[in-house]
Assembly symmetry: C2
Homo-oligomer: 546 residues x 2
């Protein structure tokens, strides 16, 4: 039998577009001679649908879409993910499920058992875990179909007490298929290959795996669907960060015509670069917008975001706004203009002095000659926020936020000022990684001006200000942050690694007291295993290491 | 035996304060002659600790605090909630548990089985559900101790497939104790009484129930701890919205010396009033702040928030900032001043004309004479945001957000303008309820000026603007919103109730397209069963009814 894997980019809740795309790919697979097409987990509605799942109408629309798809499955079968109702009284209302559709009919329903409920995942919020398992029967073969996490209890994963494949293997299946919505992080591709290969090896069965591709607000699916032989050797790997369809012949218990191949590891920074571009692109396309605006300071963060936005949307759709204040250095404007010239995007120069002065005058009676402090710095940052939001409102540009992860972590940013934006492009990229991104972007031609890369980082909100006045070197800062945020190490464990005790305590305190700011920041494109946002849920009035 | 119920206000992660308070109440209970004191669910660390639970150091601190508490339990026993490690390899790392401490030792550990994972709850994110159940033995009696949700499968609750009390009853306990962290909503107190009474009746056992009190950012615990006899009759009810301790004698299988009493229902609006005051008070106390600032427009929303803040923090700690623009009517300033006079808070008048004009001039070259539109309206709202944030930065005042739930729902508000703030005071209170609150606040004396109540609502961002220009009457709007948000009804179901079809579709579309705004708003004090924020998780780039 010939099996097609359809690695597609869905749009949450956009039943019309998803159904159309699925039916279109049924047609393409038919043309290629496929007997069965496999679509991803929750393909019908997109992943994650979140609390849309709590609306009965949404579930009905999923069912209607699946039935419409079934009408097109008269001479081809398909496997497709969708939420289905739990018909039992006890337990959550829904299952995370897959339909096996043949001859226009739903022949089997497979339900997910291992429900991820960590980091960005909330599946226990909606779904009841499956407790019984049945192979699918197709063309005289038995297929052990599982959904994403169901294959992830391979090494006694302590999260789970059961293992669906251990049940399914008792029915002596001929091959395994796994449908997934497995989001990108720069280390997740390697983990995924290991887990899938181990499953194939353990159960001595070929394995076909299909993942989603595309971004849904902050969560980026990277594709990379794969095929393994019964020895756990990879036979094929679909591209990352784009749609693709693969066709495989399963015959005599083997995937035919393919030799084992080696996964070619891609450097993290290249993956992050590609993920961010897809993240920006899909945010705009799925929101129905075309044009972006951002504040361009001459510093490295906004330069990177500008370059990524131009690659994602086209330079003609990006408006960079230079907003010098009285504390901006001359070279800042020049560095920003150099970037604009290199990259060919639109730009405006709108100095903020008039507005900042107006606020100083307006506030004077209430401020009673109190000295210049953070207040006036924040006023400048917020004037810039107003300017870029005015550009957004007047012309329909969508504002890109340019805060990096190091800043977001320690709260080095002005709420309602430089923390404005519809989507945080590099909020999950540490400052040290931002420099790596700059070098990667510049690998073929100078895009990011050298001066933006080499000059000491500064917010330029008071004379001679440098990031290093209030923060340690980013090399040190990022290491401490990584230990605390990604690895969840205790302060004592971090100190034991040789970092200065007072510094570690100060940094962790800064992270924890900045929780109120992060609560109000835009969604952040997730590229690491632990991004700020839905995947990291911290109390605000909590008093722990703060 | 004499059992004390300690209904206390904890602070998430503040081990020093929580431990001190618990030990202090052990002492108080001893003085009253108690043999056993019962503290709430997760009392040691506060509820909800969220991802602090993922830090091993945090779990160790919980254990250390419990052991310190145990040292004080030499002549009194106690039951206290805390997270404990799951010693098994399989399953989540933790249990939501309770220690039974006697003679300075942890005698038993009870684990929670039914883990809420809906609305604001995420317990499956951290905890493994218990599967075995043992009564506690104390002074020759068997106590069936359960944790919060464990008693909530009384009516075949479809969320759960098991029922801990059905197991525990087989061990023939003498009484039931339930420790809870059950948050307030204006309908939850009644539900709670029904569920607890039914448990007492079903298992024919007296029931002692202790809840937390106090607010943790957006979640407000209302207390209302209760005691029931074996017939399900309520014998005692501790106060709502304040700390309290109750002492009960259990002898001859009965709670002694108490007659059945009737729960005195409190009107919803009075409960909401008290909850919001506690919410404001605890946000400030637990964050270490004393003083609040807010923009006072002369409209009803900011008037209500100002009045509530003065009741929570003292009028001397509240700074109201009047920020008239060229479109503000004379009576707006007067209405705001009337409130200030009635209430005795501080105030400043800072007109925003200078700043708004400065922006108009600064933007003119980029705007190319495009006509006045929403952009200029938003500039004004954002200038106000800068002013109040400047007051906050300069003087350490914390900004209160004054958006109501109707506005938040339909996105009628300016991001980074009137949507600024550290905490949303009435973001879970529909506009029609805001009017009810005004009347309730005015019940003994005129606080909210009559004119703020009776005049048509307006944002005053362009000449003659009224809310009714772009929104239906709030009476209609709020009914549609309630059906969609609280009840999750489909558009067709709402239309079938007799509402105008085009209007219903327009309103739901407004709600869904405003998701990106709500993502960036402050946490909102939760008083309804479905508040915006952590309890309602919607995709942003989703395209469903939008």
């Amino acid at each position: 039998m010939k099996i097609a894997l359809a690695q597609l980019n869905y749009h949450i809740g956009n039943f019309e577009a998803n159904t159309h795309k699925i039916i279109e790919h049924l047609g393409k697979a038919k043309e290629k001679g496929a007997d069965l097409v496999v679509f991803a987990e929750l393909a019908v509605c997109g992943y994650p649908p979140r609390d849309f799942l709590e609306f009965e109408e949404f579930i009905s629309l999923c069912e209607q879409a699946a039935l419409k798809i079934a009408e097109h499955c008269t001479d081809i079968a398909c496997i497709i993910g969708l939420p289905v109702k739990n018909e039992q009284l006890a337990g959550k209302d829904l299952f995370n499920a897959a339909y096996f559709i043949e001859n226009g009919q739903v022949r089997s329903i497979v339900r997910k058992a291992l429900l991820p409920n960590y980091d960005v995942f909330d599946e226990y919020r909606y779904f009841e875990p499956a407790t019984s398992f049945e192979c699918i029967h197709f063309k005289g073969k038995k297929i052990a179909l599982t959904i994403c996490e169901d294959l992830w209890n391979i090494n006694n994963n302590p999260l789970y007490v059961s293992n669906p494949m251990d049940e399914l293997i008792l029915q002596q299946p001929d091959l395994m298929i796994n449908i997934a919505a497995s989001p990108f992080s720069y280390c997740h591709d390697d983990e995924r290959i290991v887990v899938l290969a181990e499953n194939a090896r353990k159960y001595k069965l070929p394995l076909l795996y299909v993942n989603q591709v595309g971004a849904q607000t902050e969560i980026i699916f990277d594709g990379g669907s794969m095929v393994f032989d019964a020895k756990g050797q990879m036979l094929d790997e679909l591209p990352y960060f784009k749609e693709a369809i693969g066709l495989y012949e399963f015959k005599d218990q083997h995937i035919q015509h393919l030799q084992p191949l080696e996964h070619q590891p891609v450097p993290d920074i290249e993956q992050i670069h590609d993920a961010l571009i897809l993240g920006i692109k899909d945010y705009f396309e799925k929101s129905g917008f075309k044009k972006a605006v951002l504040g361009l300071s001459g510093g490295i963060d906004s330069a990177i975001v500008c370059a990524l936005a131009c690659r994602a949307l086209g330079a003609e759709n990006v408006m960079a706004v230079l907003m010098p204040s009285k504390y901006s250095t001359d070279h800042s404007v020049q560095d920003a203009l150099d970037l604009v010239k290199n990259i060919g995007c639109q730009h405006e120069i709108i100095p903020i002095k008039e507005a900042a002065d107006a606020f100083d005058q307006m506030m004077a009676p209430a401020f009673h000659n109190l000295p210049f402090n953070l207040t006036e710095e924040n006023i400048q940052a917020r004037c810039r926020g107003i300017v870029v939001m005015a550009m957004s409102n007047k012309f329909g540009y969508i504002l890109l936020n340019t805060s990096n992860k190091s800043e977001c972590a320690v709260g080095y940013g002005t709420l309602y000022g430089d923390m404005c934006g519809a989507i945080g492009v590099i909020g999950d990229v540490y400052k040290t990684q931002v420099y790596q991104l700059a070098h990667y972007i510049n690998k073929d031609a100078a895009v990011i001006p050298e001066n933006s890369i080499v000059k000491p980082p500064s917010a330029e909100l008071r004379p001679g200000q440098k990031d290093s006045d209030s923060l340690p070197d980013y090399d040190i800062l990022d290491q401490i942050l990584f230990q605390y945020i990604e690895l969840k190490k205790s302060s004592s464990a971090i100190i034991a690694q040789g970092f200065d005790e007072a510094l570690v305590r100060r940094i962790i305190k800064m992270v924890n007291t900045a929780e109120f700011k992060r609560y109000q920041t835009p969604p952040i494109l997730r590229v690491s295993p632990k991004a700020f946002g839905m995947g990291r849920r911290m109390p605000i009035v909590g008093k722990y290491l703060s």
